[in-house]
Symmetry: C2
Subunit: 120 residues, 2 copies
């Protein structure tokens, strides 16, 4: 069946959450939001393109930092209201310069930092 981004389920702001996973290691790198046009651009360019809610603008991941996300595979969930993008990530995915945004764990009621920023 031909894929049409309009068939996905978007929230009241026209957005759908997109989880980015390292295609090779399986590590979860980040979660951000896409609108229908971001989904199309991601598929057309193979550069993962989110919608920045703070800037209200398209956000080609890594466009300014150089830490691009190259699309390897795009997955849709059963409810069609969440996306999984398997990517080849250049450099760190997190704006704190860590590999992943999920660098804090909760263990025995305490927050524990699992990763340190990569050397610039």
């Amino acid at each position: 069946m031909a894929f049409d981004p309009a068939t996905l389920k978007y929230d009241a702001q026209g957005l759908i959450p997109a989880i980015a996973q390292d295609a090779e290691s399986g590590e979860i790198l980040m979660m951000a939001w896409m609108n229908a046009e971001s989904v199309s651009r991601t598929l057309d360019t193979a550069r993962v393109t989110y919608w920045s809610r703070s800037r209200q603008a398209f956000w080609v991941k890594g466009e300014s930092s150089g830490n691009l996300q190259h699309l390897v595979d795009l997955r849709v969930d059963c409810d069609r209201d969440c996306l999984l993008v398997l990517v080849r990530q250049e450099g760190p995915a997190c704006h704190t310069n860590r590999r992943s945004c999920f660098y804090t764990a909760v263990r025995d009621g305490e927050e524990v930092e699992l990763m340190t920023p990569e050397a610039g």
Copy 2:
């Protein structure tokens, strides 16, 4: 630092997205939503507990199906507005009886089904 679920960033409905990942294989199983009380219950019981938006009720994953999610580790992202739960999943995570909800891929403009339902 002691972890307090109230310090997470929830949306206008008081919810935060939670990504469930198989702790052993790294496979992404599903994405659902939690409120502050679901986060507390998940940590207290080690059974992953979402908030069902359709039923407007707590949803102990697998409570009726038996396909429980046992919490292995809880992670918080840099913006504190998304959670990652590493789990030990009993049975399939998806209500379609597939291991993961992300069983559809978009390849060359077509939707491709990657997984079939497990035998009941």
